[in-house]
Symmetry: C2
């Protein structure tokens, strides 16, 4: 018989990455792997392979809004996740929709460039993220480069203020929590730091893996959204999602000539002969 | 350490269904659930909820081709699956790409209308499917309504020739095998029949479930593509995928006010207390 028990439903706003490494495809796999049902609103299309992004096509804001509204009027959503948005108009459309659901937590992964460094957001888009989405954000998940770009006062040719100060400014701009990931820092381990209104909440250190990965940020942000939808508190949601992501990366595979992709279903693979189950 | 062992890679050409019920989202979940890595080429966007399709936007054929070519030049694909195509131009683009990879099996799920009956393919698109894609198809997976529409001679106002005759014509038009699903027939059980060049290969009967489901056809076709990518022979791939799909439907859930969605990760859910593990 069909089940009346629903998996928690998470709505993502994201670009399509046909390679399955990042974007809404990564979100769908991560959310499914963590027991949630994904709703996926397409904000942009991309052409990409495992080496990088070749082309981007933003979807019209009306189409972004229509995709989301049809679902939100029909289903009960437990968390939002916003990834790559495609245009300033799309940010405005998403912000307006999310403002109608103030009780649903929002994880905002500010996708400003690809893992390889392809530019994916203009200065106008960064301003719009800051003004329209940050004040509605439960958790912002920038890497250290994105944290600096979002927090730096461009009008003011200042030196690097440090990541703790960036986090303080981003919380000041409206984000309830900020998780800054340390993959791009030159530290022996990767240190991810969660900040709230009273400063550092927790910091977790992870072994730095040797490969170059595509989609680690999407995986982490989606895993946190899944944990929030499953009812975890923010610090535990962040800790558990890092553990999940690290394992997905550690079990990653290289499908082409470029980067490794996370294996988001590592837990379902059969162990190799001779390997511990 | 990252793995050098790759999951089999399956490329789907499909429309986005933001509800996660059908379309490329269903393909991604099914392929992941069955141990494959999905590549997903977006052919069209839709607005839909759990009740039906509200709007369709076909993606330009150049964009469809670019998404696929970038990946095919980078990765080794073990199976193709084609679902909703969006336009005659997209069918031509997909057919040209697939003709460059004659050794990769192709599962063609001819999406002519939604589960609710929303029209998703014009007569021109049906002709193009027949002329350009059928001759390259390893397995065609129409439901009985689609089988009749694809097989009937429109110029000839004939009576229903029967499903075995429809299958014979579709094999005559170039499909290596045809699996006609019986959900829409008025039989006590659902009977799915696999035909090849010598007629019926196997027929499987399944308990008719009480609910109305969204995405059962996408799930079945993707599960077959996953099995072919995993190296199964066609009859075994078809039988196992029906079993998988039936279980996904039997464990389905109703996220909104419309149809039930298959639970493609039924095998990963924890049993309810008192239930057998």
């Amino acid at each position: 018989m069909p089940q009346d028990l629903l998996p928690p439903i998470v709505m993502v706003f994201a670009a399509s990455d046909p390679s399955g490494g990042a974007g809404l495809q990564a979100d769908i796999m991560t959310l499914s792997s963590m027991g949630c049902h994904p709703l996926s609103v397409v904000t942009a299309l991309t052409v990409q392979d495992s080496a990088g992004v070749e082309d981007v096509l933003a979807i019209d804001a009306d189409w972004v809004a229509d995709q989301a509204r049809a679902l939100l009027e029909d289903m009960s959503v437990s968390a939002f996740k916003v990834g790559m948005v495609g245009s300033v108009e799309n940010i405005a459309a998403i912000a307006e929709i999310i403002s109608d659901y103030p009780d649903i937590p929002l994880v905002l992964d500010p996708v400003l460039s690809s893992g390889r460094g392809d530019e994916l957001a203009s200065e106008d888009m960064i301003s719009a993220l800051r003004e329209l989405l940050l004040p509605q954000t439960t958790l912002l998940t920038p890497n250290s480069i994105e944290a600096r770009r979002l927090a730096l006062d461009e009008s003011n040719d200042e030196d690097d203020p440090g990541l703790a100060e960036c986090a303080r400014r981003l919380v000041g701009a409206g984000a309830e929590y900020v998780l800054i990931t340390g993959t791009h820092e030159h530290t022996p381990q990767v240190v991810n730091s969660l900040y709230g209104e009273n400063g550092l909440v927790r910091a977790d250190a992870w072994e730095r893996l040797p490969g170059s990965y595509h989609g680690s940020g999407c995986t982490l942000a989606s895993a946190i959204a899944a944990n929030l939808a499953n009812g975890l508190e923010i610090a535990e949601a962040v800790r558990d999602a890092q553990d999940y992501t690290w394992q997905a990366l550690e079990n990653g595979f290289r499908p082409g000539m470029g980067q490794y992709l996370p294996d988001r279903f590592f837990w379902a693979r059969e162990p190799e002969p001779g390997e511990d189950a």
